[in-house]
Amino acid sequence: MAGKKSLYMKRVDGRKIDEVRPMIAEIGIVPSADGSASFETGGTKAIAVVRGPRTLHPQHMQDPKTGVLRVNYGMMPFSVSDRIRPGPSRRSEEISKVVEWALSSVVDLSGFPNTVVDVFIQIPKADAGTRVAGLNAASIALAHAGIPMREMISAIAVGKVDKTLVVDVNKEEEDFHDGEGSTDIPLAVTSRSKEIALLQLDGKISPDELMKVIEMGKKACEDVLKVQIEVLKSGSVGDE
């Protein structure tokens, strides 16, 4: 780091560098679905709805060995200040796919051959970290839908703002352009084996810093997991 001080020493919202934005999670928000959840961190909110297992159509997509997990991510047109064109985009297709891969490492659909489990993620408000919020919501919703899962999955975005590593970046930090600019690294960790289920990076970072990012991310995922477990345990009080 060439001895020079980072231009970003104090976070815009006064958080500590390893402090996650306040999180709120809810389950059962969509009564008609088999499982549903919302997950909110600061100005970002994600809604995840799970439907299935149900028969997969068209039939040629069916897998006779196991069920198929299908994730669909989308941002609502009003989720950011500029209107987002609804419908699939390059970005939303990519996020759907990486979230699907992350989730398929924990769900076990071998008991439901020829079926599909659909996960729909919608972002009603976005302030950076939508894919991790979506993944957190999807993990809760899948559990709520009673889908067999080996473990939960928690995700967080760690950012490098100029030379400072910060956990759970917000939009302002993501758009930081001075010095080295901003790099964000979304990261998902499984709850039991603590394996990394998702790791993306666009921007520049040194290998040493990346190791530090993973360490910070894993620590922050523990905080996320606490919220996820808490909502699942309390959401069912009195349920038969």
Partner: protein, 242 residues
């Protein structure tokens, strides 16, 4: 249901540690621990660990009564959609009378509803039967749909809740474990009353003292809540085997 502890568990959570415990449905072994493989209520019975789901889609179990509609007719049976992952198969051998294989629509046609018993659950589908008393084609009445997880509250302890509704309205009620309830009464007003009561229960599944609240609700509708027991077929409450 006999359980030592009644507690909600989350996927990946250690339920118990020890080699002597056996992971059952919804649980798996990881080293020395028995871990929950789904979200539900843990149940340890004689070292046998299970996780019973409390939410989500309906998973058929052997012995369940389900209500569904005919969606396809094959050369030797019918396919029934009951709201599960796969369709149920009803073989011609499992219906209570002789059916001419060329005239299968005469007995059960597309779109008709049936009450059937789950005979066998495989990963590729469910086999059902309608050979016993109380099962068969649905004629008349109406079907009320609720969530499969609300069914135990509608049935009540040993069928107590269903009994209250039956006595209050005089309707015949068959509860399918898949969340479909067939109501048949002398007139449509009675059936609508039953539908309202069932929907009231479904909206209040998480409240305590539900029986009292339902009785109050029934009285509020101008019906009597009598305590006499007349011909009750108690449904199995939560699909437990045995």
């Amino acid at each position: 249901m006999v359980s030592e502890k009644r507690q909600v568990v989350v996927p990946g959570e250690t339920i118990v540690s020890g080699r002597e415990f056996l992971p059952g449905e919804g649980a798996y072994r990881d080293g020395i621990d028995v871990v929950s493989g789904r979200y539900g209520i843990m149940n340890i019975f004689e070292k046998h660990v299970r996780v019973v789901p409390i939410s989500g889609a309906y998973y058929p179990r052997r012995g369940n009564t389900i209500i569904g509609t005919i969606v396809d007719i094959t050369f030797n049976g019918w396919l029934i959609d009951f709201g599960g992952a796969q369709n149920a198969f009803l073989s011609v051998a499992e219906v209570p009378r002789y059916v001419n294989k060329n005239e299968m629509r005469e007995f059960l046609d597309f779109g008709e509803s049936v009450i059937v018993k789950v005979w066998d659950v495989k990963s590729r589908g469910v086999d059902v039967s309608m050979k016993m008393r109380g099962f068969g084609k649905i004629e008349g009445g109406m079907i009320v749909s609720i969530g499969a997880n609300q069914v135990p509250r509608v049935i009540g302890k040993e069928g107590s809740m269903v009994r209250i509704i039956k006595n209050a309205t005089g309707c015949d009620i068959t509860v399918g474990q898949n969340g479909k309830i067939w109501v048949s009464g002398h007139n449509i007003d009675d059936e609508i009353a039953v539908k309202k009561i069932i929907e009231f229960i479904a909206d209040n599944v998480t409240t305590n003292g539900l029986t009292e609240r339902v009785e109050k609700f029934i009285k509020g509708m101008g019906l009597n809540v009598s305590k006499d027991d007349v011909e009750i077929v108690a449904e199995n409450t939560d699909g437990e085997e045995g």
